[in-house]
Amino acid sequence: MSLFDKFERLRERNEYAKTFGRSPIGMPFEEMLSPTRARVGNREIILIGTNNYLGLTFDHSVLRAMTDAVERYGSGTTGSRQANGTYTAHTDLEDQLKAHFGAASAIVFTTGYQTNLGTISTLAGQGDHLLIDSDSHACIYDACRLSDAATHRFKHNDPENLQRRLQRLPDTGARLVVVEGMYSMFGDVAPLAEFVDVAHANGAMIFVDEAHSVGCYGPMGRGIAEEQGVLEQVDFLSGTFSKSFASVGGFCISKHAEFESVRLASRAYLFTASGTPANIAAAGAALTEMRLRPELRQQLWDRSRQLHAGLAKLGFDLVAPAGPVIAVRRPDEVTAIREWNHLFADNVYVNLAVPPATPGGTSLLRLSVSAAHSSEEIDAVLAAFERLL
């Protein structure tokens, strides 16, 4: 018996995927030519699976903020937030986030994963109750495992099902409902306003993960909570800097000033190095661009609608309406792997999403649209999908 025996099935699946051509797992891009183009070997690939929703990874002001931060603060912080790893870059970004969301508190974490891990597991403790959507991201499930609270799942995007589960709980302990604004695999959106009503009517607070929706939804890009008019009612809102913010890191904001206490208790905040000055500065610059340039959101939505309509016209089975993520449902895993390889050979990179990473055992070709995509690039992607037929 070896420690590595348990990975045998995963290894076999990975080797099997390689028999179709290139392995989709961790494929290296040799050079990034733009937010929507990369070089692999001697080929130029159109990227439409990178979560680069606002296309800011090569934005001049973002890059300038990064280089300025490196010159001012150096390459890394060499410490955690509570020790020597808090620079004014971090506190300035927290102030910027508070102002943008109208929040009483904002905490910046080193990654988006750590944000949910560090907040959810700390907020809900012994004797409390966590209620999570069944399609929650792995970091939410991991936060529940780390928490001492009892965890209950409710049916995906079903406020009535949540209501039933809340009503069955004992009167003891605090309650926290956790949902996502837009779900990353299918691109479907939560009925957040209904969830807020159900949570608050049953004595629970509500936490919404807007990792994929901040920057993309709402008049100011503040996510599904803003889009559905409940930003002021949501108790906690988290996000990541690794998508629309074109950097790495994460944040959680709250209307409750007491949220600041999480800094004193969250292990994912206390016991890890803080975000690099360059990453933090990039996130701040991206937030400014997000706020001042609503046309980025308009471009994103124009390209998304173009792509969604084109795929629908070709007869593909699309899981959700047009949005930053467009998921194409495939009949099985083998078809999805084969088509992913055909698309890559045709110079188009999409995400391959297969069980167990997907809800309901679904196999997907997952596309994420960028404001930086040109109409011609979307046409090229559609032509590649047409050649699959």
């Binding site: 009892a150 209950h152 049916k155 069955r168 004992p170 309901g360």
Partner: protein, 82 residues
Amino acid sequence: MNVDSTVFQSIRTILSGYVDGAHEIAPHTRIIADLEIDSVNVFDLIMEIEDANDVSISMETISTIHTVGELTDVVESLIRAK
């Protein structure tokens, strides 16, 4: 546990909707290993059992349940605790 109990009978009825008729459903039957119910269906199954008995089984408790008998014991104890 008592195989004539209402809870066991209701769980057996619900489980039978997730497996073909060839499988025996007894207290010692292992839910995943013997009935070959995958993790996606386990979630739906647990939710149906919760709704039928008006109880809520936490994920932490679910991870400790292996057999139909253990599931019945958990549901019965949650009903008694109400």
